[in-house]
Symmetry: C2
DNA sequence: GGATGTGAATGTCTTCACAGCT
DNA sequence: AGCTGTGAAGACATTCACATCC
């Protein structure tokens, strides 16, 4: 069921998608403030973009705004949620329930927008059986049969890097369609499966570069 | 002290920096394997870039490679570390020592490359005084005097979003030059201070978009 | 008046393709 | 022969600026 037959979603850039997600977060604020319209400029200031950028992003999917007024908060929220596919729930599994993984799935923003963590897996015997925000950590060996019985959409990978590709292969074969990858391994996955890498070391080192450069100016 | 007077560091793109960081991680593997040269193609495959991209990135800083052979692993590692400013240590403080923050600073990759977590702060009375990987969580109220006495370089922000800007203002005034921001707030900071946003919700929603789109194809 | 929507211009990043070195 | 280094071309993303509409 397509919502937007008028535009080719495959042409939408990753940067645009990330910004839409930011706009959504800002719109939530405006909604709780009971504002009913918002201008591209307001969205721009709060998201760190420019107003032209905001308008370009939104116009890719149609004309939501009213000239002279701005965008209707409620409607724009709904439209972006449609575009992003946020009107359904996603079954999320956590693979690697160490400190980082555990912390991530307990992060409040996580369960919002329908990302439901339905299972967590680990290999460490002392972790298996522990409760994690209402779910019981299961043995890694049950992963395959669990997924075969009840498929999931998204996997969060916080395992050691060495096993990441092997696990990715397993879960992709069992129907996982997207992976949030916290390991240092560049995963190879078939077409149609998406991977997003989140790499703390990369971010820190980028800050290091920025600091080094600033110091050089003086 | 400048290492590369021949090139303008301010013209280096963020994407290049992120890739350099990835190359560094790959070079570490090669170094432990005791390989002494590596080709742009090998780096490309392992990092998810193209070989032309790798060569462009590296050539921005000079000619490190030998034609017909590749790049010397050890020397290239050192040069990238120089470029990125990784030859010194950085004093890192954690602000917001909840589950996420605590997990982050205990992440092993963190202490590598000289990012030393020297203090952690929280407002919750039951957290203050707890041990975190060898450091004691301190009261948020001590932040200013601590920083005044012993400055730090980088702050990791995992506080509630509402207080993020106020804290950013405080720590920037006290000499912090870079922030790794896990909150949903777009921080406003003076020139010369760098902020990197890490936003889990944005990544997840990007995966949602990708899934939705794949489904639409069928 | 005030803000959107959008072609055109600009700027940035990536890929191509090949000369040049080892 | 093999692989780097790099100008040129191409693709992509952002910004400008203004016609358009409420």
């Amino acid at each position: 069921m397509k919502y937007f037959t008028n535009c080719d979603m495959t042409k939408i850039s990753d940067s645009t998608i990330k910004r839409l997600s930011l706009y959504l977060r800002i719109l939530e604020e405006f909604r709780t403030d009971e504002r009913d319209t918002v201008s591209s400029d307001e969205l721009a200031v709060k998201s760190g973009a420019t107003s032209a950028q905001v308008r370009k992003d939104l116009s890719l999917f149609g004309s939501f705004g009213k000239r002279g007024l701005g965008y209707p908060v409620q409607e724009l929220t709904t439209r972006i949620e449609q575009i992003m596919g946020l009107q359904r729930d996603y079954r999320v599994i956590l693979i690697g329930a160490g400190k980082l993984g555990s912390a991530l799935v307990q992060y409040p923003g996580f369960s919002q927008h329908g990302f439901r963590v339905v299972a967590a897996y680990d290999t460490a015997p002392d972790r298996v059986g522990c409760d994690l925000n209402g779910i019981t950590i299961r043995s890694d060996s049950l992963l395959d049969e669990d997924l075969a019985r009840e498929p999931a959409d998204i996997a969060i990978l916080t395992t050691p890097s060495e096993v990441a590709q092997a696990i990715a292969d397993r879960i992709v074969a069992l129907g996982i369609s997207a992976i949030l990858n916290f390991t240092n391994t560049k995963l190879t996955v078939p077409d149609g499966v998406s991977v997003k890498d989140v790499n703390m070391a990369v971010e820190l080192e980028a800050l290091s570069f920025a600091i080094r450069n600033r110091k050089d100016e003086s």
